[in-house]
């Protein structure tokens, strides 16, 4: 299975970033500041203000990725799938919502917070903002690493009608839980089935058996991938 990485974007302790404009790789194991609207969009945006922290972080990663791929603007809906791996998911939102339930014995339960107590909802936000009609799902794994989502992205690309897949991870701090191995933040890549000579791409993602390769080099983590993508940009000047 093969795909081409056309864009990469992230949210880390250093803020929002993307492959073609980043000066350095993101830092994951530091305090994450949940992105604000002005970090992403120039215009006022009521919907963004309603999102919980997990959804803001995930949506920001997807937005930066699409921006990096020059694919943020659209007119017709696009057959692009979205999938994200997460360990803690929207657990902090669950706790915040539960607090509204407990506070008034249910009378004060927040419908807005409840709407984001499903971790896939930020993928829905991305779908409606960017016209993405492919499959959209969250993967929660027992074992494995966060790059497993790239395998599944390649599978989706091979087995579905989608021309592209946005695949990545999203993690935000949860009170009482230790930091996951990926660190906090989000990172997404746009994988397409064919290279785009005009827009350019970072390189080839390939799955062979149980191993993943980027530009023929074994890929073990998203950090590896970011470094390799930034090196590609540096080589092109």
């Amino acid at each position: 299975m093969t795909g081409w990485i056309k864009g990469i974007g992230w949210v880390s302790a250093m803020g929002c970033g993307r492959g073609r404009t980043a000066e350095s790789a993101p830092i994951w194991n530091d305090t994450l500041v949940i992105p604000a609207r002005k970090d992403l969009f120039a215009q006022a945006d009521l919907r963004f203000g309603r999102l919980d922290g997990f959804s803001r972080t995930g949506l920001a990663g997807i937005t930066m990725c699409l921006r990096d791929a020059a694919a943020e603007e659209w007119q017709d809906k696009r057959a692009v799938a979205t999938m994200a791996v997460t360990r803690g998911g929207c657990l902090q939102t669950d706790l915040d919502y539960l607090a509204t339930v407990v506070e008034g014995d249910g009378k004060l339960a927040s419908p807005n917070l409840f709407a984001y107590t499903l971790p896939n909802c930020f993928l829905g936000e991305a779908a409606l903002r960017f016209g993405l009609t492919g499959n959209s799902l969250i993967l929660q794994q027992d074992g494995g690493t966060e790059v497993d989502v790239l395998w599944r992205g390649l599978e989706e690309l091979a087995w579905s009608h989608c021309s592209g897949v946005l695949a990545g991870f999203c993690e935000v701090p949860v009170a009482g839980l230790v930091c996951p191995p990926s660190g906090y933040g989000s990172l997404f890549v746009l994988i397409e089935g064919t290279p785009d000579p005009q827009a350019g791409c970072y390189g080839k993602l390939k799955r062979e058996g149980n191993r993943l390769f980027f530009n023929d080099t074994p890929l073990a983590s998203f950090n590896n991938l970011v470094v390799a993508c930034l090196a590609t940009v540096a080589r092109r000047g």
Binding site: Y97, L98, V101, G106, L137, I138, L139, Q140, D142, W159
Partner: protein
């Protein structure tokens, strides 16, 4: 591409344990929707739901634990090389709720990975399972993914374990969204006013058809096609034109290599909410322009089982194909005009080999499966 079959199904629902019991109750027009006693409902817009009888958890444990035990006992052993796909939206949410009310912070035990591991251990499967969270289409999407793995030769056996509970967490949320019906829900009825929540635990064993034949494993139905698509419209409301569901169904027809005309029946999501049911009928009319096949929904009987809904409905759909009979849509006393005489509170005879199952969920996701009758 390899053919994929549903070999075995174990179900625990508010209408009892086992596909046979569920089928008998559904065809008799039974319903398990009743006043809730699990938690106080005075401050919510509804006081009823469908709960599984005899589900009791030990102190500090989730009801998901005894539910898993009942499903696993019914299922029996599964092939040791099964890939495990779990489908739950909120997992052991009752445990988190209790801990939170007691001022305790979450622990690693509250993460989905703990539940996935519990399921793997109970079925004697190795670690490495995955939970697919696609809201109320979770198990539909999980079955689609499992079928795709088998079709592509990446696996020859997949166990899909789907479960969700009636919890105050979810009940209060749907109440706050004004989505609950205060009475028995009425899917596809002109007077429908919302959904009733339900709960279920389901295990589905998917096999490569050649392997099933070699192992002389039972075959309930072939999973002939699957599809998934997003509305790209709204996070909690379906697209009124049904665009995402239409796309998912067309993909399912395409992968099954059939035309819409070959579908003899539909097991619809049919939540009983104004917008979901209207969206589905719009989508079905677009897909089946010539003639709408008989359709039904079972949420008036067992409530909306969230992430497990699709898995229960798939087991029912397989049985419906075998029996060539659609159970009644309990609560649909006065069907929407656009549903014609194809949906209602009476059983319907069907005639054909392909049945469409579909589900939709928050986040705009839609999943569709085409089941094919296998003549023994």
């Amino acid at each position: 591409m390899k053919q994929v079959v549903l070999s075995r199904a174990a179900v625990v629902t508010p209408l009892g344990d086992g596909v046979d019991t569920l089928w008998q109750q559904l065809t008799a027009g039974g319903t398990a929707i009743a006043p809730l006693v699990r938690f106080a409902t005075a401050n919510y817009i509804s006081s009823c739901a469908a709960c599984i009888e005899g589900l009791v958890a030990a102190d500090g444990e989730s009801l998901m634990v005894p539910l898993l035990e009942r499903v696993a006992r019914q299922m029996g052993s599964v092939p040791a090389d099964c890939r495990l796909l779990v489908a739950t939206t909120k997992g052991e949410i009752d445990r988190l709720e209790t801990r939170s009310r007691n001022g305790l912070e979450p622990t690693a035990a509250d993460l989905p990975e703990t539940f996935i591991r519990r399921v793997a251990q109970r079925f004697d499967l190795p670690a490495g399972g995955v939970n697919i969270n696609a809201a109320c289409a979770s198990s539909t999407i999980a079955v689609a993914h499992g079928a795709a793995l088998i079709a592509a030769g990446q696996a020859s056996a997949v166990l899909v374990y789907a479960a969700d509970l009636v919890s105050e967490f979810v009940f209060s949320g749907f109440s706050a969204l004004q989505a609950l019906s205060p009475h028995l829900c009425r899917p596809f009825d002109q007077q429908r006013s919302g959904l009733n929540l339900g709960e279920a635990g389901v295990a589905l064993l998917l096999l490569d058809e050649e392997r099933a034949q070699q192992d002389k494993a039972p075959i309930m139905a072939r999973i002939a096609g699957w599809g998934a698509a997003n509305d790209a419209h709204h996070v909690t409301a379906p697209a009124r034109d049904g665009c995402g569901l239409i796309l998912a169904c067309r993909q399912a027809f395409g992968s099954a290599a059939i035309s819409a005309k070959q579908i003899c029946a539909i097991n619809a999501h049919g939540t009983g909410t104004l917008y979901n049911d209207a969206m589905e009928l719009t989508a079905f009319h677009s897909l089946f322009a010539e003639k709408l096949p008989p359709l039904h929904g079972i949420k008036g009987s067992i409530g909306h089982c969230l992430g497990a809904a699709g898995a229960v409905e798939m087991a029912v759909g397989a049985r419906a194909l075998t029996e060539q009979l659609l159970p009644p849509t309990v609560g649909c006393r006065n069907p929407e005009a656009v549903g014609g005489d194809q949906v209602g509170e009476k059983q319907q005879r069907i005639s054909g080999d392909y049945l469409l199952c579909c589900n939709s969920g928050f986040g705009g996701i839609n999943g569709a499966l085409v089941l094919q009758r296998i003549m023994s």
